[in-house]
């Protein structure tokens, strides 16, 4: 029997960004880039492990907004258009760099990469990424879990428990719709926990969630095993705490693996490096220079003089880092097991988009870690659900309020840049909640209006907008999204209150903000 377990958890999430009213919308590229650089490479990794019959247990949380985007026909078609242009650019690059030994092989590498992504997306999975993840879940390689409906920061919404309930129950329902069964695990957005949220999770049938290290370390009563065993809340839902050491090794750009000088540099991109007229066809209609995804340099060091990327050296570093990661975990569990009466579990949660998008070699590293684990009897890859089945005896404790954001609490989402949103979010949820309670049943038009109002409210609650405002990235867009969804919700409420539903506009809103097609406002009752 293994000395200890390792739970690798990837949290995949993007806010719902879909603008059918624009032919080409810049922020939709977040999704396209993540598909090319993270989601498809993850599927490729799973395919390889499946084919080679390498035992693999990986937990992937896919947020309901991301599921919605993966399933959306318009975004699929637009992604394909985006990918085709990327292939075209890579083909041009392959021709342009002929005769240049250093860069030509890199151009070839990208071209091969994009061809492969296209084959996986289009030929192997017929554009249905959700089906792909579902298949690997059915094959037993991954355990897909869910997250709050639109990634709302639940402690900030808990003033009205109905708001939390809607975020949780809509997520549970969407998961059932896509995966045909119930999810056992729930990723709390930003690992934001406060006592009481677990009861809402229990109510919706979830069995476990994750908190940051100090959430378990500062739990009441004090957990005897720290973060190396889950604790169970009064509601019966288990909480797994993040292992700080393995987090840092992977997350940190300075001290962690992704900052290695042989790895590919994220910032140098031909969208900026090459002649404007040459890259112009691949830039947005406004003509702004942007990242294209073709990046030829390695991190090199803390210098502006970057050297060309060397894929073989990078691969060797990924192997070394995978070995180091597993060896360090082995040392960790070996030491922990001597002090514990159950095998320790080391929980390593990461943002999925770290792998591939931010850390180009991340998916390779992950594959090498999983392969190494498969041949390491003392350390076993597990999912939290596996662990609960094997070790159902847990210490009773209530985790401390915490998040995995900067400084460990709510400051990222509650600061001078974004605190103004909460008075509007709270008053709007109260208004819609009161209105829905007046309609235990409703005619078709009212039902559609109230459901769309809830959709808009959920979209406004996404933690991403507050995050962007506080981090000074795409602030204008984040403010716009917050206000637009709140205004739409408020207007729909007013229409229902006054009996003046504008059906044309309602239909247009349903087409524009079209996620959660099965949503029913009665979840808010």
């Amino acid at each position: 029997m293994a000395r200890g377990s390792l739970a690798l958890v990837l949290h995949a999430h993007l806010p719902f960004v879909r603008h059918p009213e624009h032919e080409d919308f810049l922020e939709e590229r977040w999704f396209y880039e993540a598909v090319t650089e993270t989601y498809v490479p993850l599927l490729e990794l799973l395919e390889t492990l499946d084919r080679d019959r390498v035992p693999c247990r990986l937990t992937i949380s896919i947020s309901p907004t991301l599921l919605g985007m993966m399933a959306d026909r318009l975004l699929r078609a637009r992604y394909l258009r985006h990918l085709d242009r990327l292939v075209e650019l890579a083909e041009k690059e392959e021709r342009r760099t002929r005769g240049d030994g250093q860069f030509h092989r890199l151009a070839e590498l990208y071209l091969a990469r994009f061809y492969r992504v296209r084959a996986i997306f289009l030929d192997e999975w017929q554009q249905d990424l959700v089906a792909a993840f579902r298949t690997y879940q059915d094959h037993g390689l991954i355990d897909v879990i869910t997250c709050a409906a639109t990634h709302g920061l639940l402690p900030m919404l808990a003033l009205n428990p109905a708001a939390v309930r809607a975020q949780v129950e809509v997520a549970a329902a969407e998961y059932r719709r896509f995966f045909g069964r119930s999810a056992e695990g729930f990723w709390l957005p930003e690992c934001a926990y406060e006592p009481g949220l677990d009861a809402e999770l229990a109510r919706a049938g979830f069995r476990y969630f994750f908190v940051d290290t100090h959430g378990v370390a500062h739990a009441t009563p004090r957990p005897v095993y720290g973060v190396y065993a889950p604790v169970v809340c009064e509601s019966g839902v288990a909480a797994f705490g993040r292992d700080p050491d393995s987090s840092k090794q992977v997350w940190s750009a300075d001290e962690g693996y992704p900052g290695d000088f042989w790895y590919r540099d994220f910032y140098r991109d031909i969208g900026f490096d090459l002649d404007y007229d040459y890259v112009r066809p691949y830039l947005p209609p406004t003509g702004q220079r942007i990242h294209t995804g073709l990046k030829y340099y390695r991190i090199t060091g803390k210098t502006d003089r970057k050297e060309p990327y060397d894929p073989e050296r990078a691969r060797a570093r990924a192997q070394a880092h995978a070995d180091h990661f597993v060896d360090t975990r082995l040392g960790q569990v070996d030491w922990l097991a001597r002090h514990m009466e159950r095998p320790p579990i080391v929980v390593c949660p990461y943002d999925a988009e770290l792998f591939g998008h931010w850390w180009f070699e991340g998916p390779l590293w992950l594959e090498l870690v999983l392969r190494r684990l498969a041949t390491t009897p003392d350390l076993e890859a597990v999912t939290p659900a596996d662990d609960l089945v094997r070790h159902p005896t847990l210490q009773r404790a209530t985790p401390a309020p915490s998040t995995w954001g900067w400084r460990g609490y709510n400051e990222v989402w509650l600061s001078g840049q974004n605190d103004w949103i909460y008075r509007h979010l709270h008053v709007t949820v109260d208004r819609l909640h009161a209105l829905c309670r007046r309609y235990p049943s409703a005619d078709e038009r009212t039902r559609r209006s109230l459901s769309q109002a809830l959709r808009e409210l959920l979209l406004a609650q996404a933690s991403d907008w507050a995050f962007m405002m506080s981090r000074d990235t795409t602030v204008e867009y984040a403010v716009r999204r917050t206000k637009d969804h709140l205004l739409r919700c408020q207007r729909l409420c007013a229409e229902v209150e006054q009996g003046t539903i504008d059906e044309l506009r309602l239909a247009a809103l349903e087409d524009t903000d079209n996620l959660f097609p099965a949503l029913d406002y009665r979840v808010l009752l």
Binding site: A217, R305, E353, R407
Partner: protein
């Protein structure tokens, strides 16, 4: 220790954020690589000066990756916001702005961290005038006050707080960050007016919030339960009775940790 390491990270992040704040513009490169232009389409050579694309991300590791999700490396161009390009019945930007007030008296507390809570409120002119009228002559010179009560373990009645303190918000303001000093405590706030004679008349009362405990709990009780596939866990466990656990590492008392520290109970394994 991770706590210490993170602490160091956080101390630099403040400075960095300051720099980054003004640095939004400098994060973007505004010129094409001149060498590339001269040479036709050549990729900049390794020894050529790199284009200046300052790295804009937070020095908090998790947030670097998170910010990278939203980073498209966009060069700022004074471009008008895109207009709808598809002439169908779809919805674009909403006209107008959110209402400045909702006509509902309310004060809300939100927890920011163990030492700070955020209060926002709306006090309708009607309620304010009604209160001032009721005060009669005392209303002369009365000021609006935010009174914060420590109501830890108390069912607050308005009279029985452990302690309270007053904040005089800048006139016209509708929110305030309150330094509450004591973590792992419960707070409730009232917005009201205070007369020159010192009489406080509350008008609206907030929800009660509890700040996080930033250190390990002093409660070392150990209760084991057994999870079941359905329903609530049952008390006790056959495999562990907790007897040995009392001697588990980490039972020793811990000193309070610095803000946000992630002190673990188990001693760290030796570095390899």
């Amino acid at each position: 220790m991770i706590g210490r390491a993170l602490g160091t990270g956080w101390s630099v992040v403040g400075e960095w954020l300051g720099a980054a704040y003004g640095g939004l513009v400098t994060r973007i490169r505004t010129h094409a690589d001149p060498l590339a232009r001269i040479l036709g389409l050549g990729v900049g050579r390794p020894d050529s000066p790199a284009p200046r694309i300052p790295q804009p991300f937070s020095s908090v590791p998790e947030e670097q990756a998170k910010e990278a999700k939203y980073y498209l490396g966009v060069e700022p161009v004074a471009a008008p916001p895109p207009r709808p390009t598809i002439p169908v019945a779809l919805v674009d930007r909403e006209p107008g702005d959110l209402p400045p007030a909702y006509g509902r008296d309310r004060i809300v507390l939100l927890v920011r961290d163990p030492w700070w809570v955020f209060a926002y409120w709306e006090l309708t002119p009607t309620s304010r005038i009604k209160t001032l009228r009721a005060l009669g002559a005392e209303a002369e010179g009365a000021v609006e006050i935010l009174r914060v009560h420590d109501v830890t373990f108390i069912d607050f009645t308005g009279e029985n707080a452990w302690s309270s303190f007053d904040i005089e918000p800048t006139p016209g303001t509708q929110s305030w960050y309150v330094n509450v000093w004591k973590p792992a405590a419960s707070y409730c706030a009232e917005l009201g007016v205070r007369t020159p004679a010192g009489r406080f008349v509350p008008i609206i009362r907030s929800n009660t919030v509890t700040t996080p405990r930033p250190q390990p709990s002093p409660d070392t009780t150990v209760r084991w339960v057994v999870l079941r596939a359905h329903g609530l866990p049952v008390e006790g466990g056959e495999s562990w009775n907790g007897a040995r656990v009392e001697h588990a590492p980490g039972a020793a008392a811990h000193s309070p940790a610095p803000p946000g520290s992630s002190e673990l109970h188990l001693p760290r394994p030796p570095a390899r």
